[in-house]
Amino acid sequence: MSDIFQLQYALDTFYFLVCGALVMWMAAGFAMLEAGLVRTKNTTEILTKNISLYAIACTMYLVCGYAIMYDGGFLLSGIVGDGATGEAEPATYAPSADFYFQVVFVATAMSIVSGAVAERMKLWAFLLFAVVLTGYIYPMEGSWTWGGASVFGMYTLGDLGFSDFAGSGIVHMAGAAAALAGVILLGARKGKYGPNGEVNAIPGANLPLATLGTFILWLGWFGFNGGSVLATASVESANAVAVVFMNTNAAAAGGLIAALIVAKVLFGKADLTMALNGALAGLVAITAEPSTPTPLQATLFGALGGVLVVFSILTLDKLKIDDPVGAISVHGVVGLLGLLLVPVTNDGSSFSGQIIGAATIFVWVFVTSYIAWYVIKVIMGLRVSEEEEANGVDLAECGMEAYPEFTSSKS
């Protein structure tokens, strides 16, 4: 084994791990964004959900998810310590680094769900669903896409020209599809929609946290997309990584500017929450293919996502699909846009392949999630009582407030 190879192996592994750590940090971004966009009385519960789902996703993917997705054996038994020997085509990074990078993506998909069902869902119903999504639903569609397996022996997406670089569809749209199924069975927050079709605002409690969360997600996304190059220790892959970083950043900026302007034109004021959603929409839009667009194309793709996300949020409200943080619009609608934009710059993909791939992911995740949510609803119920919702799920589910006042240590 040459010294150069050893150096490449070490550098690629190191790069992979650092990118994985950046993606892990996106869990903090989601937690802060969601905590900022809910009311104070639901803060502790959304934080509990976010950090618990991360732990559940990591554990379920370790137990069975990775095995389903990459055919590697349960409890990571297929992972050997050294990726440089043994296989016919040795990986250039440590196999456990691959698991680590993959597992944080599962957590991202699940994080998307928590915001959409915020402020009214039972904590344990949500966590039970997290087990199913991260242990089975996501790994199955992951096996058909990044895993390269055929869809129940019928067709193979890769052969049809389906391409999703870092997961606009596989991660983001999948999470949104699961969220949509949950929201449909769960219903809207009390007071969100009036009897005569009016849409009432329920303002988030802490916009500094929501903004910090968006910055954290923006930062973490460099790991999400940048790491998906899977290597950096050669001139070619280092160039690719730099392009991906540049385009990812450009798309987020384009998305934010577009959403900010659209909100200003539509509402007359600069709506910060829409601008934040716009940045995330730009990121989701570029995630399916950040390596082939020019910087201008990346900015425009992001801007397209930023425009689309505002109209999607307004439309979902008209349909009475209550999504407190805009997750279904940001990750689902714009995730689909991201998939459809891939063939514009990547000759290796086709529109038909993208549409079949998107449909496969959406139908699978939506239908299985709907069944899972429905079963949970029958067993334990999805929703807290009306009184508990009015008092806040912090007290109902966690028995503690995020910002307690007038407390006494006397028993």
Binding site: V199, A201, F267
Partner: protein, 112 residues
């Protein structure tokens, strides 16, 4: 003795405090409050949906005064807190039966 309670615009608090201080008033109690008067509330937009702010933020200044100071204190508050626009607030004057300084037990005007 009287209790003068003024509901004022929050950004006028410093001026009101200074003008009362100039009169020799030695203490006030300030509370952040919300309410509505003729100004009513106003509507805001959040993510494209309207919401009504029924109660506007105001500051409540409470000051206990000897009878002879009341008129000048009201003048001071009025001139300091006035903008001439709707929502400037109100002043309420009520009788105060007794005042006791907790530290010394003094009562009446001495305790103010």
């Amino acid at each position: 003795m009287k209790m003068v309670t003024a509901i004022i615009k929050p950004f006028k608090l410093d001026e009101v405090r200074e003008s009362l201080g100039d009169l020799g008033v030695t203490g006030v109690t300030v509370t952040e409050v919300k309410g509505f008067g003729r100004q009513k509330g106003h509507t805001e937009l959040y993510r494209g949906a309207e919401y009504v702010v029924d109660f506007l933020p105001k500051v409540k200044v409470e000051v206990a005064l000897a009878d002879e100071l009341v008129e000048r204190a009201v003048e001071a508050i009025t001139s300091a807190a006035q903008t001439g626009k709707i929502g400037d607030g109100k002043i309420f004057i009520t009788n105060t039966e007794q005042v006791i300084r907790i530290r010394t037990g003094e009562t009446g005007a001495d305790a103010i």
